[in-house]
Amino acid sequence: MSFDELFTEGFTRTVRTLVLMGSDRATAEDLAQEAFGVALKKWDDVGGLDSPLAWVGKTALTLWTSHCRTSGRRRSLLAKAEPLSTSTAPHALTTSDQRIDLVRALEQLPERQRETVVLHYILDQPVSAIARTLEVAEGTVKSQLHDGRRSLRLLMADTDAHPIREGGSSEPHRK
């Protein structure tokens, strides 16, 4: 895969990944651009990987973490959000309301679990690529995906605003 193909295919997905980690869109675009810039500089190495996009995704997540540390803006999206419990009827939820709920739910997952979930479901990376990129065993990735899904389902069911509550809507799962 050429760098151009990688970029064209992966830029939007990388931005979406960062947004689900809690970034606003413009910052996500800055950081995604930066991550691809790093990949381009190291293309001799990165281009030879099984999944260059997983590498870019991980780099973007690292940039995001350090952005949060230096700017103290970690909670910016959430700070602006309305309290969940008072939100409007489910069918009235807009994409951005859903996103706020979801980002909030994701933030309650342990960091590695959250990374694994977004890398798999948004960046569309296979378990094997995630395992190599995060340098953990495939079994670990699988169990993190499993736990992450379960927690997300509980958290989102708890908001009472989303259809996902198959089999597990009993316990409030919130801090």
């Binding site: 931005v15 979406r16 413009a26 230096t70 859903q98 979930v117 699988k142 995906l145 389902r153 996902i164």
Partner: protein
């Protein structure tokens, strides 16, 4: 693995970000910038005065382009600044590829001008939104691609430090001038405060102390000079008995760095700012009489 459950989570996540898309034009422009050959320069900016008055009418070309909805709308993300900023749709010619510039050679005239646009835009955007504002907003205000900004400033941090340094030393020069020109101690201090706020420079003073352990020695050095000169203004006003004895240099810097955020209406802005400063300056005065 439970596939139904997995699919549900996948849908849930995907739905939440489905509105985030990038047009092929934007992607190829970004790609070109990454590869360092988006060489075209932005159209010359209107004079600074009309940029500052955000109500300045759009140029007819950009306006019709926007009205037709057919502009390339490169980097058309939502941002606070976009609502009030000058038109941002870039000329289609902007995304063409051009020369690759040898970065070790001195900047050409157009590149130098470009740099100035970026710096001016950064001052405005950071002044309005704070240093947390994304590079995207700076690029949009400067009417260049975000890649152009990154070519000059490898990271946002570098740009932020550059602006902070420049603004702090500008304020220092200004304080020196006031100190030399204005004999009456209270008027001197009040004039420094008013003009610092009006210039917008006050809002660009980095938080004191500078954030965490990564304090930049250059910025710190400039801050020290600023505090020294403002210290003289404060000292004189103390000596003349006009300034409350408990007011410190840090209070004065806090005052000029916390002016109200900008609104699109320049007159209203000035009125609100003036009112607030009247109240604050009055609060700094000694209550002898």
């Amino acid at each position: 693995m439970n596939h139904t459950e997995s699919d549900q989570v996948a849908h849930l996540l995907a739905d939440a970000v489905q509105d985030i898309t990038h047009s092929p034009e934007e992607l190829s422009a970004r790609l070109a910038q990454l590869k360092g050959h988006a060489a075209s320069e932005p159209a010359p900016l209107p004079p600074a005065s009309s940029l500052r008055l955000m109500s300045a009418p759009a140029s007819s070309a950009s306006a019709s382009q926007e009205a037709a909805g057919s502009g390339p709308a490169v980097y058309g993300t939502l941002a606070v600044a976009a609502a009030t900023a000058a038109p941002t749709a870039r000329d289609p010619a902007d995304s063409r590829s051009g020369l690759t510039r040898d970065r070790s050679t001195p900047l050409k005239v157009d590149a130098q001008r470009n740099l100035e646009h970026v710096l001016r835009a950064a001052r405005e955007v950071f002044g309005e939104l704070g240093y947390g504002a994304p590079m995207e907003d700076v690029a949009r205000r400067a009417r260049v691609g975000v890649g152009t900004v990154y070519r000059r400033f490898p990271s946002k941090d570098v740009l932020v430090r550059r602006i902070a340094e420049e603004e702090v030393s500008r304020l220092t020069d200004h304080a020196r001038v006031v100190l030399g020109q204005e004999d009456e101690p209270w008027s001197a201090l009040a004039r420094f405060v008013r003009t610092s706020v009006a210039s917008g420079g006050g809002r660009l003073i980095p938080a004191v102390p500078l954030h965490d352990d990564q304090a930049d020695p250059d910025v710190e050095h400039h801050m020290a000079s600023l505090m020294e000169v403002v210290g003289q203004l404060v000292h004189r006003a103390h000596a003349s008995g006009e300034l409350r004895p408990d007011v410190t240099v840090a209070d004065v810097l806090l005052l000029i760095s916390s002016s109200p955020s900008r609104t699109a209406d320049a007159a209203l802005q000035a009125a609100r700012q003036g009112r607030l400063l009247d109240i604050c300056l009055d609060g700094l005065r000694s209550r002898s009489e």
